[in-house]
């Protein structure tokens, strides 16, 4: 096991522009973010010896960066791919295969969704192509929400409680200059927005944006050599459940076991409990995802996630600030949000977020990949365990 806090993030940045960025392709957004992260860390391409990315070839990205890496990773499990890549990078550094890894992400979900990017989940002959995707017309809101009605039946979650999540996150987004949607909304607005896949409405869905993000991870022993406050990685977990777009393969549709597996790995390595968490990010592809995350990670019991959000505990002024950038539903979401999710955690730990929570010492970030397929959990901190 890699000791808790043995690795640190020493550079992190998003693409210069976010939201609608028609002058860049997906790799262009990734490279722009990479340049910003290198500048943030005070490094040049020659200082990087490990590179990870998804949706385009890691050798192409390395070549365009002017990096000749000794270690690479192209793990592609959906939206949290860059979280699993970061976890892999920690292991690679621990193993001595590289010292300084650039984890880079770019996606032109809005302007150029089919240009220079490949998603293999529904390729001809794949499981999702033959048995899942065509029923739902390729709309992620359909397959990701298939278990929701049963969850509502079993727990009593109401449509109003479900709508409260997007409302709360819009409250956060109101004071985030880079957020795409900042105008306040009400529960009635959410319930009155276009029906996508009942009971999911438009305002319960993430945005479709252009975005890039990058971070640089190295051994915590070197962290003092960098200009920015290090963000120590106290714990990291990941797990796989169903096929990438095949939710029928889940072992439990209401208490997906992989959330607990990933969370326990991260919390266990960090030696923390939910009570220690000052700031939380849970990837909100759709309004019900944070509910499942809160329950699966142990912040609340089964069936309590919806009321917890609706009562305002995760909203501004609440006891557990969550998705403080506005989340995928208000900030930005380009198809894969895991990197942007981590960027907000990192900003909070560094003390530089738009909605900075006072005295963040422990921040947790939980991301999803595919349709109830992959997940990953990170525990970040501004101090290294002694």
């Amino acid at each position: 096991m890699i000791p808790s806090g043995a690795m640190a993030i020493v550079g992190a940045a998003e693409s210069t522009e976010i939201g609608t960025v028609p002058h860049l392709s997906a790799p262009g957004l990734a490279l722009d973010a990479a340049a910003n992260a290198l500048a943030d860390a005070g490094l040049g391409p020659g200082d990087i010896d490990g590179v990870t990315c998804a949706y385009f070839p890691v050798a192409d990205i390395s070549h365009q960066l002017g990096v000749f890496p000794t270690w690479v990773d192209n793990t592609q499990v959906g939206g949290c791919s860059w979280m699993l890549q970061l976890r892999n990078a920690m292991a690679a550094i621990h193993a001595g295969w590289c010292t300084t890894v650039l984890v880079v992400y770019g996606e032109s979900g809005r302007s150029h969704p089919t240009l220079a990017t490949t998603y293999d989940g529904a390729k001809a002959g794949n499981m999702a192509n033959q048995f899942d995707q065509f029923y739902g017309g390729g709309t992620p809101a359909v397959l990701f929400s298939l278990n929701l009605l049963r969850y509502m039946r079993e727990t009593g979650l109401t449509e109003e409680q479900l709508a409260a999540g997007p409302v709360n996150q819009r409250q956060w987004a109101a004071t985030v200059p880079r957020a795409t949607k900042r105008d306040p909304i009400t529960v009635d607005d959410v319930l009155g927005s276009n029906m996508i896949a009942w009971p999911i409405r438009r305002d319960m869905c993430c945005l479709v944006s252009d975005a890039g993000g990058a971070l640089i991870v190295t051994s915590a022993d070197r962290a003092a050599d960098f200009p920015r406050p290090p963000v120590y990685i106290l714990g990291a977990g990941a797990a796989i459940e169903g096929g990438v777009m095949s939710p029928a393969g889940m072992r439990d549709f209401l208490r997906p076991p992989y959330i607990r597996t990933s969370g326990e790995a991260a919390f266990g390595q960090a030696g923390i409990t939910p009570a220690d968490v000052d700031h939380l990010m849970i990837y909100d592809a759709f309004a019900h995802n944070p509910i499942f995350g809160l329950e699966g990670l142990g912040f609340v019991g089964f069936g309590e996630g919806g009321p917890f959000i609706a009562e305002g505990h995760t909203a501004p002024g609440g006891s557990l600030p969550m998705n403080t950038n506005g989340g995928g539903m208000s900030y930005a979401h380009s198809g894969s949000y895991g990197m942007l999710c981590m960027q907000e955690s990192i900003r909070q730990v560094r003390g530089e977020a738009a909605n900075q929570i006072p005295d963040v010492e422990v921040a947790v970030c939980h991301g999803w990949g595919g349709v109830w397929s992959a997940c990953s959990t990170f525990v970040f901190s501004n101090s290294r365990p002694s």
Partner: protein, 143 residues
């Protein structure tokens, strides 16, 4: 060039698709542990045996959960919203499908309602859907 969402069979899944074309639900069954599984693949997901046979399923199922999709593919050649469901087969496996031949409304689509397999055109293929037990064959009458 076919629509990218039209299913393309593989050697492992072809018996399933050939069964559907003849309005039969054929499922893979492990010759070692005798469990029926889904989707069809080269080995049994329960015991990893590569000795796979096929059985014709009863077509009986129940409705586990669903959404009502408001922008279904035109390839279905049906009007209006369309359910997409998690359907539990009597033989055990859970799968993604649609419940048809009834109003596509929360009132008509009750969780745990009994269903039976029906075989629907989708582009050039025949695909698996389900209908409420009691629905008139091939008609869009209420359940």
């Amino acid at each position: 060039m076919p629509h990218p969402l039209v299913p393309v069979p593989t050697p492992e899944t072809r018996p399933y698709w050939e069964g559907l074309a003849e309005h039969r639900l054929d499922l893979p069954r492990c010759r070692r542990c005798e469990q029926v599984f889904f989707p069809p693949t080269a080995i049994c997901p329960h015991c990893a045996s590569n000795q796979i046979g096929w059985v014709t399923a009863s077509g009986e199922a129940t409705l586990y959960s669903y959404v009502i999709h408001h922008r279904p593919l035109k390839l279905w050649r049906t009007e209006g919203p369309r359910s997409v469901a998690l359907v539990q087969l009597a033989e055990g496996p859970m799968l993604v499908s649609s419940v048809v031949n009834c109003p596509q409304t929360p009132d008509a689509l009750q969780l745990d309602m009994p269903l039976r397999a029906t075989f629907e055109p989708f582009d050039e293929l025949t695909v698996l859907c389900f209908e409420p037990v009691g629905a008139a064959d091939g008609e869009g009458s209420g359940a």
